[in-house]
Structures are given as structure tokens and as C-alpha cells.
Amino acid sequence: MSETNTHPKYTGSALKKYQEAHDLDPYFPSDGLIRAVEVARLLERPLLLRGEPGSGKTRLAEALAYELHGDAFEDYYFRWNIKSTTKAQDGLYLFDHLDRLRDVQDPNTSQEDIKPERYVKLGPLGEAFEKSKKGQTPSVLLIDEIDKADIDFPNDLLDVLEGRRKEFEIKETGRKIRAERSPIVIITSNDEKELPNAFLRRCVFFYIPFPSYEDLLRIAKANQAKLLDEQLEDGLIGKLVRKFETLYKEMRDNPNTDKRVSTSELLDWLRVIAYYQPQANGQLTIGENGELVFPDGKVIYPEVLFKSFDDWKSHLGEEYI
């Protein structure tokens, strides 16, 4: 723990503006989330993040890597996208047997060409281990959507992440890959149901709630820099965000909603509005209480917001189909 104390803390303040060089959108973690990251870093345990889609679970790791490593962050950020067929071994390394077999059968290759080392490809976990040197700021590993994998996967993963010596051996070459210090591991999950208890006990947890109005506004404004076309004025953005928030709450409170709107839909919606400029064409009006009023009271550009037929019908009515 003394070593972790001397290394940079995460404050969540490095990525407030769009970083064009790396195409990084701004990221605003809450105090609770920052604390959770610090706890994970201090205890050298993986941080299991949950939250609604679009709440920013997946982006945390990248933002964290950027804050810790600056412009060189891509060398220290590793992303492992889990699929239903993923095995723990895949994160460590892959050995291309078929390729080697083919090369072996080719009379033109020399002994040197077919050395086993040439066919080893480290997976994201293996790479994160390699990049974790003593005395250096840790690398960041994102394991995205762990709940997609089969039931044994989290426990198999634990064997590698849990040991005091974080290392594994590449059987085909005998080489040992060792992490001199623990990378920061961020794991995201969409569904709380299937993760085994033994795995959960080894993690620390955080649930990212849907952003508040102020958060949404901040995200929307910060993303303006990325909009290629006309910008929207601040006052209008505020009103649009308010409308969006109302819509979200309606959808959340209605148990028949198929898919709630999320932050990414908000940003898409603002972008489309910025492009078509309905406010300039008189399509949007301001009501008595200062709130935005849509034509016929129906949400504009609904195709960006509603991804399910039933949701569309319940918000726009049958006649809008």
C-alpha cells in the first residue's frame, strides 16, 4: 500500500474538454466514482462498474488512463471486449498453431523463421501485465461487458488476477509474463444476475446512476466542440436538455418502456438539431414558463431517440406512424 500511495491519484479533472489529438470526448466522473477508482487502486482490486447503458461505464478506463499517462496514454490503456465465446486464456495470449503449421510445411522457411516466439500474440491482460513496471504509474485494463461471457469465465479470470504474483507462463515458449505491479482493472457489467459470488467478493463496486440535469448539460456543452456544423446557443441547449430529462423520467417511470433514452441519444439528438436548426425555422417555440414547446407537442426528430416501435407509439401516438 505504501507504493500505491506515492503514485498519482485519480482526480477526474484531466478530461474536461474534447481532446482532438486522440479523439477523446470529455468525461465528468462523479465524486463517488472517483472515490471508487481510488479505493480500487489502493487495494489493488478490480473495480466492477454497473449502470444504465450510456452512463459512461466503458469510458472511465480510457479517461483514467489519459489522466494518469497524458498523451502517451494509448501505450498504457488496454481494452478487452468480452464476447460470449471469450475464455480467460484469450486475455493472456494466443498462439497461432495453424500459421506455424503452414510455415513448417513450407520448404522455404528456415529454422529461425518458425521459432515459437513468432507465433505468440499477447492478449490485453498479458499486455497490461507487461506494461506494469515497478516504480511506474500503473497501466489500465478495461474488461468490457464481462456478463456476456459464460458462467465459468469470471472465476477463471480470478485465478490470474488474484494471485500475489501476477504472472502466467506461455507454455509454447516457456516465457513468463509478469506484472511488477498491479494494473488498475476496470470491469463493466450490464446485468447483475450471473456473476459468481467468489468473483464478486474480490472486487469493489460502483453503480453509475443516470446523470442529473446539471451533468447532462455539462456533457452536452462539452461535446459541442465536436459538432461539425453550427453550434447551438447555450440557452437553447439548456432547454433541450431539460426536455430530454423529462422524457427520460417518463420512460423510466413507465414499466412498459422497451429502451430508455441514454446520454448517447441526447448527444445524437443535439447534433441533429444543430444541423437542421429548427429553432431558426420557427419550429420550436418558447412557452409561458420558459420551457421549450415542440410542434404539436410531439418530440422532434424522434427517430434519434426512440429505438423501439412500441416506445415510438406510446410517445407519439398511432397517427405518427
Partner: protein, 382 residues
Amino acid sequence: MEKHRLPLYAFFDRLRRETGLELDMQQYFDFLKTFTAGYGGDDPETLLALCKIHWLPRPRYRKDFERLFWEEFEKLSALSTPGDRTERKDEPGEPERKQPAAPLSKSHKTQEQPPPPSVKETPPLPERKTPAPIDDQYEEILIQFREAASAESLRSSGERAADVLDNDFLFSDKYLSLSDRRLQQHWRYLRARAEKQPGARVDVPATVEAIACQGGFIEPVYQQEKVFRRQVMFLTDHGGSMAAFETMARHLMETTRESLQVRDAEQFYFHNFPSQRLFRNRLHTQSVPIGEFLRQIDGRNTLLLIISDAGAARGTVQQERINRTKDFLALIKAKSPNLLWLNPMPRVRWRNSSAGYISYFVPMLEASKSGLRKLPEVLKRL
């Protein structure tokens, strides 16, 4: 009278007992680490957030979690009075936050604070036995368990005795006499005996090897898929002489459930010996006739574990018990050979009791580290 010496342990304990959350002591120690490092902040909201980070793995338990937290927090605030505090620290409800650093530093080497001298001033053991004036206060007993790395433990056992008297105690149901990891190692052996069958996916490395041996490609080699023992049935004796082993039995079952990764684990209860019916719950309100129970046994795919002292606790030989048990075991063995009896009483106590006789009919193991060490051999002979 001493107050709670371990911050929020009462809350942690209630979480484990009253919600479905499965938490272990390591998670409590981790909390202590961050709490003493100051991550609990100055206000209860921040403290609650920190607790959630450590102890809330499943968001759906949030409401119960918060309710219990506030209940416990109210109690703590009510208990503390200004005069008792040695140091005024952050929360009003958290006196003596630094105290735990000493007793836990043994198992928890990275504590930042050095053992405060006030630990030596704690009253000696006899005084602590006076009953608590307030219902909410209770003595917490920390029994320190270490791995049986034998040489070290023998050497330091003298010191340990003294430590044990000085330190606080904390009753935990997870750490009675078995080590989780050791037990899981043994069960892993059982898992390896599961049948393998060729699956539907090609095993590329094996195919490549086959090609190398055969000189050409003839047919692919398929991956072996393990068929795990699908079903584990626990038959637990409870009540009466087994009351003292309640927590141990539960611990055994939980560990087995997890390490075998069974998809199907059922539990049945009986009292002293199984008779006409087995019960699905402790209150014996839901029962299953023996015939139906036997029908559920899936041959070699079922593993049956009986957890009972087999009369060893009572220490007498009861013919009826032996006969009825023997009959029952015969019925099971006809359906599946995978039958094991785990006895929480030490082996020496079996000899002149019913257990001694019963142990001739079924592999009976002592439910302790030394007993379970014999597990691999027993499993081989099944």
C-alpha cells in the same frame, strides 16, 4: 464497559445475516484499510458511499443496504457520549477508530497506524465478562486464524495464546476450523473426475499435433467438454446434538456449492436419522417422501453429502439409529455410489458411539482440515 471496537462491524454483520449478500472477512479488512486512510470522509453520506463500494456487489440490494446502514448508524450515534472518546475523530458515531489497527495488524500487515499504546491498557479478560448494560452492545470476538504452516505455528503458539487474551474477539461464522481455500482444493479433485466427452468444437492445437504425427490431415480433433456432476444433494442433520455445528455445516455447504460450480444443489434436512420423509426446510413444514427423493438421484451424476455427527455427540450406541441409518444408506447406494458422510465431531469420539458403527457402511470423514485431507483417496475409491 467497552463499546464497539471495530467500526461498522455490527452493520457488516447484519448485512451478511439479513440480506442475501455473501461477504467475507477480507472485504471487512479492506474496508478498514480505506476507512483508516480517510476515505470515509467527514459525513455519514460519504461513509455510506464507501460502504457501498466495498459491500454492495448487487445493486438490487441497495434499499436494504441503506436501511440497515441508517439503523446501525442511529444506534452508534445514540451510544457515543463525549466523555468516552479518546480522540475526537470524524464521525460522532465512530469512537476509537484507531483501535483495530493493533489486533488486526497481525493478519493485515499494511495498516498505516502503528499499534496504539492504548491497546495494552485494555482490561484483562475476566473484567470483560460482565454483562452489557445495553442490549445493543455485545462482545465481539476475533479469533485469529492462520494457515497451518506447521513449523511456524508450533513455534509461535505460545505467543499466540497471549495475543488471544489481549485482543478483542469477534465471532465469525466463516472461520471455524476449515480453510476455504484448502477445502476448494479438495473439491477440485472431485471435479476433475467428471466425465469428459467429445464436444462440437475443434481443438486446434490438438489437431495440429495430430497432423504432425500422422503426416497429413485426416480429421479434426474435437475439444473435450466436461460434464460436471450436475447435482449435489446435501442431507443435513440439524437440531439437537447438531445445533453446535450449525454454522460449520452451513460453511461446508456454501464452500461446496461454489467450488463445484454445480448448477443444481439441493438441501434436505432430517433429525438424527432420515426416516420416512426428508424435509426441505428447517421448520420441517415442507417434506419429500423418501421415494421421491430417491427418484431425483441421477446415478453417477449426483453426489450425496450427508452432514451429521451420526450420534458421536451423544456418545452412546443406539441400535435403532444404526439400523435405520444403515437401511437408508443402502437405499441411496442402490441409486448412486457417490456418497460421503461428513462428521463434524473428531474421529476419536466416534469409537464408542453410533458413529463408529455407521462409519463401516459409508465413507465417513471428519469435517476438519486433517479429515478432509483424506478426501482425494476416498473419492478415488468411490
